[in-house]
Structures are given as C-alpha cells and as structure tokens.
Point group: D2
Chain length 354, copies 4
C-alpha cells in the first residue's frame, strides 16, 4: 500500500538504487503557489552528505515536477514530483548477508528473490525524500489555513532537550526551534547530543532518539471518533517512517503513571474559546482536536547500519555468520528525521482538514 490519505493523497515510489524516486500528490487545492525556495530548504533539511553526523552519500535531491503545476501554481490535478538517484554504489551490498535491524529478511520473505535489496531498495530511508517534498507542499497549504508544524529533538542518546511548554507554544516559538540546523531548544544540550553521535561513530556504532512534533493553529473539531481519530491518522503515517518504533500523544506513556486528577486537562474560558491549563491530551480528546496545540513524540531507533561486528545469517547458504556493515551510513538519523516527522504530520493533518 503505497498510498496515504483520502482528500490529500500521496502515492510514493522508488528504490535506493533505482532510476528515481518520487511521489504523486492528489488533492492539492488549485491555485496554491509553490514556494520552491521553501521546498528546497525542506529537502535540504533531510538531505544526506551535509555534515559528519550523517552519511557521506551526497544527493542533490532536486525535485522535478512533471504535472499539476503551471508557472509555479498548482492546477488542482495530480502533481508528480520525481528525484533522480545519482550517487549509487550498489557494489556495497551483499545479497545474502541479512543486516540485523533492517528489512532484508522481511523483504525477501514478502517479495521473494525479486526483492531489490540494494541499499534497502524500497525500504530505504531515502524514500522519505518524496515524503518531505509532499510534506513541504502540505505545509504551504496549511500555512494558508494558519497552521504551523514544527519539531525538535526531545532526546538523543539519552540526552534531553529542554521542555516545550506545549500548552502555550506559539507558531513563532515553534519555528525558531524547528528551523535550526540541529533542532533543539538548548543549543548547549544540542552540542552534547552531537558529541554523543560522534562518539558512537567512533565506536562503529549508532544512536537513536525521540522527536517531538507540534502543530499550532489546528481548530477544534478535526478528526472523528474511533477509526478516524487524529491519533489514528497521525500514528499510521508516523509508522510509515523507517526506524520509528513508538508514538505518544501529549503526556503519552507518562499518563499511565498519573492519577486522573493530574492527567485531566482542566478547562477555562479564553475569549470565545475553551482552553486547557495543561496539554496532557496533546490537543486531542475522543480522537478530535480540541484547539490546543497538537503534540506528539516519536521514538527513533538507532540506525541499524553499524560497522561493529554482529551475528547474522547468510540467507543463501542458510548458515549462521557475522557481518560488519561498511559503506556510507549515518551514525544517527534523528536530526535528519525531524523534517520527515513534520512532513508526515503535515500530510496527515491536511488530509483530515481537506
């Protein structure tokens, strides 16, 4: 299932080492001006090859738009954006050696011998580039509706960023954090996170983290009870992102240890709106937005590609063996994943609102 959404619908395609990757987006409001500088800057936030923290594979990730846009303005019909793969080194990959933590085994079990294992094929994190493109388009539409999406690294290698005030945060505050090259509130703690990444790299290892994402400006009444809940829509999108293994809304898992009197968000009148003093429910009650900032965090596991020796299986011979993964890999993808999480959130929310 390569398609997400009903009203704002994104269909993705591509493999890490194929001719190209991309997506088709249906449901963009006609006459939306596509700000290509913004789109480029979003793509750059995810792009590899920028810093020693990430993979050395350098890709321009330039999107060519084939349809749905005339003179920089959307027509309302499906928009297809493609990105050519240019910097591929398929020789780095061995068909038979299953990489632990990767989808090599499950890919073969689902697709058989035809599975494109080179660089993870369709399972590659590279396929999130079209998602960021679609997310950038979604953000441009959301902007016209007064909605802003941003994220920061909440935790990385056990190091916590400062806490966001999720009941009070404004769009400006949000963007001032999410717009940073290394998106943390406290640059000091960010520095420690960077050091932890380099330390892991030095150890031929990798680290993971938690990204917290916020959407400001979503009015009350979005979403549906049960299967159409905002949480259902957002979580189903988030678990499409490779390496995401957990999600929580508002207080999330910490609510499990609270009492009701602590977890409930008490309410008050604010002008013509009803607000809550706290935001433990992450802006969502009964699956429907309540007008407070929508807040969720996702857990990103450490990059599975590590140079350290690991026990694994040679799937050709069905024998136990060992593997050391060399090549160009990220010791940490959390900082690059922040914009992917924002993009997924923008797509999911726009689909609900459209």
């Amino acid at each position: 299932m390569n398609t997400y959404g009903n009203k704002f619908r994104v269909s993705i395609f591509g493999e890490s080492h194929g001719a190209g990757i991309g997506c088709v987006i249906d449901g963009i409001p006609p006459a939306t001006a596509l700000d290509f500088d913004f789109i480029k800057s979003e793509m750059a936030r995810r792009a590899p090859g920028k810093s020693p923290l990430a993979t050395a594979r350098s890709e321009a990730d330039e999107v060519e738009i084939l349809s749905g846009c005339v003179d920089g303005v959307t027509t309302g019909t499906p928009l297809c954006g493609i990105i050519r793969n240019t910097n591929t080194r398929s020789g780095d990959y061995n068909r038979d050696l299953l990489r632990p933590g990767h989808a090599d085994y499950t890919g073969f079990m689902k697709y058989g011998k035809a599975h494109d294992f080179r660089g993870g094929g369709h399972f590659s994190g590279r396929i999130t580039a079209p998602l960021v493109f679609a997310g950038a388009v979604a953000k441009l539409v959301l902007k016209t509706k007064g909605i802003t999406v941003g994220a920061h690294i909440k935790r990385l290698a056990g190091i916590c960023d400062e806490e966001l005030n999720t009941a009070e945060i404004t769009a400006e505050q949000l963007l001032s954090v999410s717009g940073k090259e290394f998106p943390v509130i406290s640059d000091e703690r960010g520095e420690k996170m960077r050091e932890a990444i380099m330390a892991a790299k030095g150890d031929c290892d990798s680290v993971g983290g938690i990204i917290e994402c916020v959407a400001v400006g979503v009015g009350a009444g979005v979403g549906s009870p049960f299967f159409g809940s905002v949480e259902s829509a957002v979580s189903s999108m988030m678990f499409s992102i490779p390496a995401v293994k957990g999600i929580e809304f508002g207080g999330g898992f910490s609510l499990a240890d609270m009492r009701g009197s602590e977890a409930n968000d008490e309410m008050y009148v604010s002008g013509e709106k009803v607000k809550t003093y706290t935001n433990n429910n992450g802006g969502i009650n009964g699956g429907i937005s309540n007008g407070m900032p929508i807040v969720f965090s996702v857990a990103v596991k450490p990059t599975p590609s590590i140079a350290k020796k690991q026990r694994t299986v040679d799937f050709g011979k069905m024998e136990n063996t060992e593997i050391e993964i060399h090549g160009r890999h990220d010791p940490c993808i959390v900082q690059r994943a922040a914009v992917v999480v924002e993009s997924g959130a923008a797509i999911a929310l726009l689909d609900l609102i459209s």
Copy 2:
C-alpha cells in the same frame, strides 16, 4: 469514519444511552464456526459491573446476530451483531458542564448541538463492546491459522508486572496470563495493582496503566513497507480505543536510548527459519512481520471521570466553573481494556493477513 479494514472490515455504531450498539463485520471466511461460549467469555472480560474495581453499571452485553450466520456457522456475507442498551441513567449527565479529559467539548465542536452527550454518546468506552465482539470473531479465524493474541497489564499506577520474554513466548504461556481475570504474570504484583485502584477510588480519583499485547504465530512477510506497515495498521486501530494515548512496538521508546549494537536483533538459523536472539523490533522490520512474536504496548490514561473537584467550563453560559463527576464510573479501566486491545490487534492482523 466508522469502518476499519479492507479485507476484514468492521463498521461500528452506537451510543452509550441509545437503543443499541453493535457492528457489521465483512470478510469473515465462510464456514467459520462461531464458538458462542468463547465469544461470551470475551464479552465478559470487558463487561462492566463485575467487580468493585469497575463501574457499577451492569450490562448483560448479549450479542444478537442478525445476519451472516446460519446454525452457528458463518455464510461469508456481512455479519451484524447488536447489543441492546438496557441499564441507562441519562439523568446523571449535565449537557453544559464539560468534563475534563472527555470528548464533551470536541463532540460539541464537531457535531454541534445535536451531539449526543449522554454518557459520552458515541465516544463512550461502551462502544468498545462491539469491538470485542468483532475481535472474538477475528480470534476464532486467526486460531485456524495458528495465530494467538493475548495481553497482560504491564504496569498499573506505577506498579510493574514481571517481564515477558517476548523472543521466546509460546501461545500457551501467553494464554495462561491473558486468560486470568486480572491479567498479570505475577499475581502478587497484581494484588498491589488492585490495592492501588481501590486507593484511588477512595481518593475520588482514578489510575491508568500500560497494556502489553503479543501475537504469536504470525508468519514472516505480513504487511507492507510504508503506509501499509503492520505498525501503521495496528496503531491506527489502537488509537481508536478511548483513553489510549501511546503505543510502542518491541523496545519502543527504550530503543531511543540504546545504541545500534544493542537495539539490533541479531539473527540465527532455526530449522528452516531465521530467528532473532532478542525482539527489540517487536517482530516487525520495515513494516513487515519477521516471524517473531509481534509485541506492542499501549498507554492507557487514567479514567477521566473522577469525583474530585475539577476546574471546567459551563459551555451554555461560557463561564468558568467547577465539576464533580458522580455516577457509576471505573476508578481504572486498564484491566477491562486488555481484551479490547487484544481484540483490536486481532482485527488489524486478520485484515492484513486476509
């Protein structure tokens, strides 16, 4: 959106204080024998009014099957099961007083004045009864495919159950825990949890917890990359359950603090299969099952209905005020929610497998 699934499809309906609740299930394999004793026992696991730990509202929750079943055997065409509401006391509810942590406000913002606020209306946890019915049917089908789903209370009011060995657990072990009236591995810790519930009740308050759910017997190759991932399907279902605010697969959020060498599940040959020593990925890689037990945990917030005084809004007068919620409410729903979580998992997995 009241419908979940593509191949095994469940459509739910009903309000807490309406004439009845129920669901329509499409995609049940024809000639499935419906074990009504099993279905009844599953319904009983969720049913209210059984113990001092839960609400005193007593409902028989008997399901009448209107279609799709002849002489106890499914026909393959849509099955409708309905449950009459019998024990309703709508007088307990005040239209204008918004209950913190509930969907009263979002319900009015979405549906306007027509919103059925009585007992939470369609947002009520009572609507999970049809989900348990559909889940019981799903489990009967999964059983024929060698798949078993079970859950236990991993944590309640801060008290942890013993840990499951999620890499080695068998169907028998799983059922021996999930089948308990109070589903915990350690009955001693379960006793402490019960005490914590009664203590909260004594304080006019409530508690939450974490439910861990496991599916044993799912073969490798189920699910799809990206939007069709097993995690996407299961999480979107789980956030349909009222009070669930977080989900994690395998190691989940704890993976964020691990290094890759620790988080990766190393692999070995086991007969004709490939297995992993650990199960940090919860049986899923790249969105696709790897043949290990599928493992996830959900965070259940404390019941929002508490007798303690809370600050809230009178939505009729748009004035700040206070509320004390009396009536028949659960000081904790975690123990009743375990079967709901299992049911949702069964439905989601069967839809993926069908």
Copy 3:
C-alpha cells in the same frame, strides 16, 4: 465489500431468510431531521405484497433505528437501521437446483457450502430495502441542498413511456412523475405496461425494463476527472442493484450513432450560469457535473424467477435437469426498482457532495 462511499458511507447486511437486514450509515450531517413519514413512504414504494404485479410475500419493512438519532434528529455519528424478516418460507427453496439467472451457482463458487441459498440469501433483492432506507436519509439531506432525485419507467416489456425533456425538467415535474404508484409520464402507456406484466405472469414468465433517473439541482463542479467521475460513482452503485445490467448517461448508447455536431451540447449564457441547449452528456463533462440535470438510465433484466420450465443443473449430483420455480415471485420488478435506483443515486451523489 459491503460498504459504499467515503464521506457518506453505507454498510449493508442481511439475508432474505435470516433474522434481519439493515445498514449502518456514517456521515449524515448532525441535526438532520429524519422525516419518518417520508422514510416510510419511500420504503412502501419498494415493499412487496402491495399489488398483483409483484410478489405476494408481505413484509412490513419497518425500520428500527438503533443509533445516531435522538428524538428524530441525527447526532452525526453512525446510524444503524434494522428491519426484521418476518414472512419467510425457506421450505420453498431447494439447495441443489441452480436457478438460471440467479446467483445460486456463483454464491456456491464464492462461499462454498456455507452459502445461504435460501431465497437468494444475501443476493436477494430484499437487501435493497436497507438501500432504500439509506437513500431516503440521503434524499432528506440532499433536499436541504436543493437537490431532488426522481425516476420513471422509461420502457417496460418494449413499451416506451413519453420522453422527459432532460434539459429543462424541474424538480416539481420530476416529483410529479416519480411520486406516482406506477411511475410513468403517460398513464395510458403505464396501463399497457401493467397489462404486459400481467400477460407475462399468465405465461409463467417475467418482463424487464429501463428506468430513467434524474437529479435536479446539482451545481457545477461535483466529481473528479477519471476514477472519481460522477459516472464512475453512480454506475458502481447502480450495478450493486440486483438485475441491473446496463447504464447510460444522457444520450448514452444513442450517442454512438450520432455525429459530434449532433452529440455536443451547445452552450449559452443563462444569468450567471452557463447552460446547454441539449443534455446529451447527462449533466456531466469530464466526469464533473456541469449544472444541468444529471440524467441516466439503467437496464433491468426480467425477473429470473419464473414458473416456466428451464434447463439447469442439480449441483448436488452434477447432473443436467429441469426446474420450475414456484413460490411468491414478481413477474416484474421494474416498478419496485425505481425507488431503489433513486436511492442509489441519492447516496452516490451525496457522497460526492459531502
């Protein structure tokens, strides 16, 4: 697949000789007043047992609403309506004798031995009763948007009704025809049609016909190019109705013999709107409504249940044999199907507009 629609979604269930039939409707705007007299009158238009033209099986077809409606007003959450089967005579049916033109054989090939063959089971025309109920609800919503749906018998047993002026027809004219007990423009021709039905009955045979359906008041811009065309939505619904074997929009098949200069609908300015002199395109260009009345016709095959001797197969013995179908059957269902066609159109259009 028992569910139709995305925004206005109908899930149907039931078998001819089971406990009950019905549907769940999601996406009804909240605060819609359900006019039960209207709903009853719509159900009566389809109901059997009223006249010598139709089956003698008499069913009250009273709908009980279980959810989604408080004090006659919709809540906005899913509405379930059920109809009990009361007048069943399963003894009339022989499991092994495949009835030509019916779904007995395909039912067994799809569902195996569990197929509920009694009275056609889920394939029975009786299951269109919930469709008429859902259609009546849809019509009530469409009415608030100024949209009227009506149908007449265009042709029956080779006898044509007078022609509708599909470019000029008003809602009033439409309802004055569709509201008749035997919905034809010319009652004289209607009389001949009735005679043809009785003649067929006398010959132990049956007749078919063509129903033309019109929706007045649909604004320009509804629908989408390609897979979301108005024609795609309406036709997919129409072929859900048992016995429908063809559909054409506007001039339909007759356009195939025209030249472009004749088939094209020339355009003119009418106030602030653009109208067309003719309506050969049935109110739809490029899949999208153009503001003219939406017009389509469906071909209804003659009732397959006939008392005349037919060659068939004994599926138990896999032997050639003969069959005479006795019991209570319609010599013609066209007049009863008109309201079913209208209902399907109302559901499909409301889903597109919602």
Copy 4:
C-alpha cells in the same frame, strides 16, 4: 481521486501540455517479467499520429520506468512509468472559448482560474496513455493466470461489425480480432467504418461507436455481491475513460425487452464445470463471475473537437459566441479507444483477482 484499485492499484497523473504524464502501479506480483515489446505494441495501438483516421499530433509515447523493476523483472514494490510530452502546441487553445462536449467549463467550475485548459489539461484523452501502460502490465500478469482480454469495434457510425459468439469464444479467436490494426471481425464492415470516419472528417465533423470487450479465462467466484460486484468495478473504471457514456454487460439494454425465459441463461454440466447455453448475463450473476466469458460493451461518444461552427460561451466575457475547433483532432477515437477499454478491464479484473 486519481487512484484506482485496492490490491492492484494505479495512480495516474499528467496534463496534455505539461512536462509529462504517467502512473504509479502498486501491487504487481514480484518477479513478473515485463515484456517491453508487448508493452510497446500496446502503447502503439493507442498512440496518435499513425493514420489519417486520427490526430496528426505525433508522440512517441515511450515509457521510462523509474522504479519497481530491476533488469526487466518487477520487484513487487511500486512501479512508476513516465512519458514525456514532446509535441505540444499550446497556442492552439483559447482560454475563454468553452468547447462544447469538453470539460472546459466543468474544469473551470471545479478548479477555478488555475485550471490547465491547454489541450484539455488533465482531462485530455492523452492521459489514457498511462492507463494503457498499466493495462499492459496487468495483461502480462493476467496471462500468467490464463486470462485474456480483447475488444473489437461492435458498431461505428451506425455500422455494425459481425456478432461475437460470447458463450463460446476462445482466447485465440479473441486475440485474432483485437490484435488487428482496425479491430473488427469483418474487415469488409471495417472498411465501411473507415469510410464513415473519413466522410465525417470531410464534413468537419466526427463519429462515435461501441466497443465490445471480452475477458476469457476468469474463473467462477470473482467479485462480491453489491458494492463489490464485477460490474461495479469494471463500470467505475470504464467511466474514467473520456468519452465513454454507457456500459452494458452481456445482453445489457436488450435484456430489458426480453422475457425471463429468454434472458435467463440456462445451465448445463460441462466436465466439472457448470456452463450456460447463452451468455446474456455477460459472465456475471449476483455481481460474481460465473466462469463464462465476461462480456461488456461501452458507448463512445463522437469526438467533441470538430471544425464545424458551434454555439458556445466566451467564459471571460460571459457572452454567447461561436467556435470552430481547428488544430490536430481525431475525427474518431473509437479505434484508438479499444485498447484503452481492454486496459481498463485488465486493471479492474486484476484488482478483483489479486
């Protein structure tokens, strides 16, 4: 809605005068060998610029595959094929002059001023090229399941082809007709059809026709009752094809004039199968295939682009005016549409079977 299908899913994009057109196909079985010669020959059947019967716009219509295929073999993940537009002459089009029979007006009413009107934009028949590509892929998969799809021109400008024996036709017979450059059974009648096309062209006019399509080899039991009927799936696809205004299955509209004893397909035992003497139901009963050839016909209206003077509206000035459409247009698209109809049928059937 640019996406069709659930298991075999096609998402299309593109405009007549944009950078490119194409589609993304999900659900192709892995390890399917893509026979590029076959695909090319299918594209050529639809391609313009081949003969005086069709538009002079010449497009190579070469498909570049970006993903989902390694060394000519599918991987099982989404396949994206793109076709560059090369031969565009946008100067031929006037924004304000609404072309009768086209989607100019509805396009503006849906998309507003951003509508890409050049050459019909996304509404152009040119967008059926990706459909033919997807259809060719579908046919290659269907071939492995013993299913063959073919079509012939049943009627053109009032001239009928010879009749197919739809109860007895074999795959070989079918392909021998559909494979012709001008696909008719009787070449003599085909010659008369060609003459009629040239005559219409001479008159600055155009003609339409009826295409009959057959699928041989579909086993009994495909499809579902009601909304999932084979007819629903196929018709919803067919009305995605520009210019199609009617569809009928088997006897279709002619059944409306028959009696039941004539319309019913009597049954007999043939080896281990049940067959019917006639095929008035077009291989489908109760929405489900019965094992006989699946047969349907679609009505194709005459090309709306004609050089003859027509009354229309200047949408800029909202004034009545006249139009003569010059440029490169087909006097008839029926012969080119045959492969589009086959392609749509192949996609719809494969989706049902997958």
